[in-house]
């Protein structure tokens, strides 16, 4: 685990506070869903999913809007998660994640109940298997 976390150090730049504030637990929960990827990619992809989940939560998507500063932090989480996917995930997984965010955000915009984030992102990690 510590080797994996060391490999993530540079990906946590500016987000160190979030890591100790719940991001690490979220990351660990996604490790169960990345076993089918090559071992060097597993931490990056679990972190991508965790960043996207935490980013959406910080923004307040589907609930009360975050304050501007928190929104920017949420945006950075989403962007970094997306970049990790671009660099390490197969095309099918990238597309599945994007579609998951599209479905959650369009539900939020329509004030409809959104699908639960974690199961949706966990299943996105399995896309194309």
């Amino acid at each position: 685990m510590s080797v994996q976390v060391q490999a993530l150090d540079q990906e946590l730049d500016r987000l160190e506070g979030l890591w100790s504030d719940g991001l690490s637990e979220t990351y660990r929960s996604y490790l169960d869903n990345v076993g089918h990827f090559a071992s060097e990619r597993q931490p990056k992809l679990a972190l991508a999913a965790a960043l996207i989940e935490v980013g959406l939560r910080l923004q307040g998507l589907g609930g009360r809007a975050a304050t501007p500063t928190t929104l920017l932090m949420g945006d950075l989480c989403l962007a970094r998660g997306s970049r990790l996917l671009a660099d390490h995930a197969p095309l099918a997984v990238q597309v599945a994640f994007a579609r998951a965010i599209e479905s959650m955000s369009s539900a939020a915009a329509s004030e409809q109940p959104a699908p639960a984030t974690r199961p949706l992102l966990a299943s996105s990690l399995g896309a194309g298997r």
């Binding site: 500016r14 959406l56 923004q59 307040g60 998507l61 589907g62 609930g63 009360r64 809007a65 975050a66 501007p68 500063t69 929104l71 920017l72 932090m73 945006d75 950075l76 989403l78 962007a79 970094r80 997306s82 970049r83 996917l85 671009a86 660099d87 095309l91 990238q94 597309v95 994640f97 994007a98 579609r99 998951a100 965010i101 599209e102 959650m104 955000s105 369009s106 939020a108 915009a109 329509s110």
Partner: protein, 460 residues
């Protein structure tokens, strides 16, 4: 045949000459009108239309003339609410504005020949605000002989692709984005994608238009979140998504198009393109955080400014250039040179944009960046100026009402800040142009050079 539309704009001052010439030109170009007329009509009793010279001192003369002919608060009967019926609670005291409008015209007809507006060398078209600041509309009709065949210029391919993408999205997200996209914008990033996508051996205009539209959607998604963060009420002359529909909707719309744009780009199946755009997006988000943090030490310094601008603006310009070239499978040396060209151009573009904030002839409200405490190089230089600097710093340290913003603007324009920024922006453009010297660009060099120079010339 007749085509109808509305031009919307937001005025920022009680009396203001808003230059709408370029917006009318865009309408003519977009409609395909070749020969005919454009009819303009003010939809307000305190907005006039004028064709005259775009020269700030002359606008001041016009203001003085209007004030002399119909002075403010000169005992107009219209302003005696005790003698009027059915007046609104927020009825303005504006007899002078109505009287001034009587001196102007509420209508204008402009001629179009060979697809262009017929205007004399010094003529520009103005919407004349007489009772601002307000959100305003002009009705516009174009009639005459239109091109039979739709133009398939690269720009129109992007517009078609944007419309196509928005057509298939849920209305709750598509509708606010459509309003933003249709309100205009310079489309510089998509233009860069299309130009650079024509350089490599695999030049496919349709794929290039798809990528260009996705980059534009991504750019607009970032603007929607920015407008909430900056508490901006208007963008491109229309209310922002956050102002009109609330921050919750703005966040959702921004997220939807962030995700959709990244998906469209991923589905193109070019890993280099996907990574280039993803890196730019990350840089934009990181620099937004820096930008907001720097407002505590407003106006900041040049070094901080450049760090923010590299991420906030230049990164997507660089990614637009690199991704177009990558899509067409251009040589890596060419991709690198275009990436550097895009980055330099992006910084120069932002500097020029900063200068626009102090230009009364730009058609944009003067001093908006100052009011919103947005990072601005002219302001940084004015704050450092030996003569005006102390007053600029003192004003910026306090609350910024109309009087303070007006004074800061005066101080910035009275010192060497603007010429200094202009010369820096011009030097960056020349650096960008030099990046193109060593690579083979298949005849596109003059277009890329022209585009770079026009980024700075818009405030000339």
């Amino acid at each position: 045949m007749t085509v109808a539309n509305r031009l919307e704009f937001a005025s920022m001052h009680p009396t203001e000459f808003v230059d709408i010439t370029d917006r009318i030109r865009d309408e003519v170009r977009g409609s395909g009108l070749r020969n005919g007329r454009v009819h303009l009509q003010s939809l307000h009793t305190t907005v006039g239309i004028a064709v005259n010279e775009n020269e700030p001192l002359l606008h001041r003369d016009f203001e003085i003339l209007l004030e002399r002919l119909a002075p403010t608060g000169a005992g107009y009967e219209h302003d005696d609410f005790s003698r009027r019926f059915d007046i609104a609670l927020d009825e303005p005291v504006n007899g002078h504005a109505h009287c001034r409008q009587l001196l102007l015209s509420a209508f204008a007809t402009l001629l179009v020949e060979d697809g262009g507006l017929v205007l004399g060398r010094w003529q520009s078209v103005f919407a004349v605000e007489l009772d601002g600041p307000r959100h305003r509309q002009l009705a516009l009709q174009l009639e005459g002989e239109f091109s039979k065949r739709r133009s398939h210029a690269p720009e129109s391919l992007v517009e078609i692709e944007l419309a196509r993408q928005l057509m298939v999205d849920p209305e709750a997200v598509a509708s606010p984005m459509r309003r933003l996209v249709e309100a205009g914008g310079k489309r510089l990033r998509p233009k860069l994608v299309q130009l650079t996508a024509a350089i490599g051996p695999r030049n496919d205009p349709l794929r290039a238009a798809e990528l260009a539209a996705a980059v534009e959607l991504l750019h607009n998604a970032t603007l929607i979140h920015d407008d909430y963060v900056d508490e901006s009420a208007y963008r491109r002359g229309r209310p922002t998504v956050a102002a009109e529909e609330g921050p919750e909707r703005a966040i959702a719309v921004g997220d939807f198009y962030f995700a959709k744009a990244t998906r469209l780009i991923a589905e193109m199946g070019n890993a280099g393109v996907t990574s280039a755009v993803a890196e730019a997006l990350e840089a934009i988000c990181a620099s937004q955080i820096d930008d907001v943090a720097l407002r505590g030490a407003y106006p900041g310094d040049r070094e901080s400014y450049l760090r923010v601008v590299r991420g906030k603006t230049a990164s997507l310009f660089a990614a637009a250039c690199a991704s177009g070239a990558l899509l067409s499978e251009a040589d890596p040396k060419i991709v690198d040179a275009l990436r550097r060209y895009g980055e330099l151009l992006g910084i120069a573009f932002q500097m020029a944009d900063d200068m626009v904030d102090f230009s009364p002839s730009s058609g944009k409200p003067v001093g908006l960046d100052v009011r919103q405490r947005v990072l601005s190089l002219p302001l940084i230089y004015a704050a450092e100026d030996r003569v005006v600097g102390p007053e600029v710093r003192r004003l910026l340290a306090g609350s910024l009402g109309d009087a303070e913003v007006g004074r800061v603007t005066e101080l910035v324009t009275s010192c060497e800040a603007l010429p200094r920024v202009r010369s820096e922006a011009e030097a960056l453009v020349e650096d960008a142009v030099r990046e193109l010297e060593s690579i083979e660009l298949d005849g596109l060099r003059p277009t890329l050079i022209g585009l770079a120079r026009s980024a700075v010339d818009r405030v000339a």
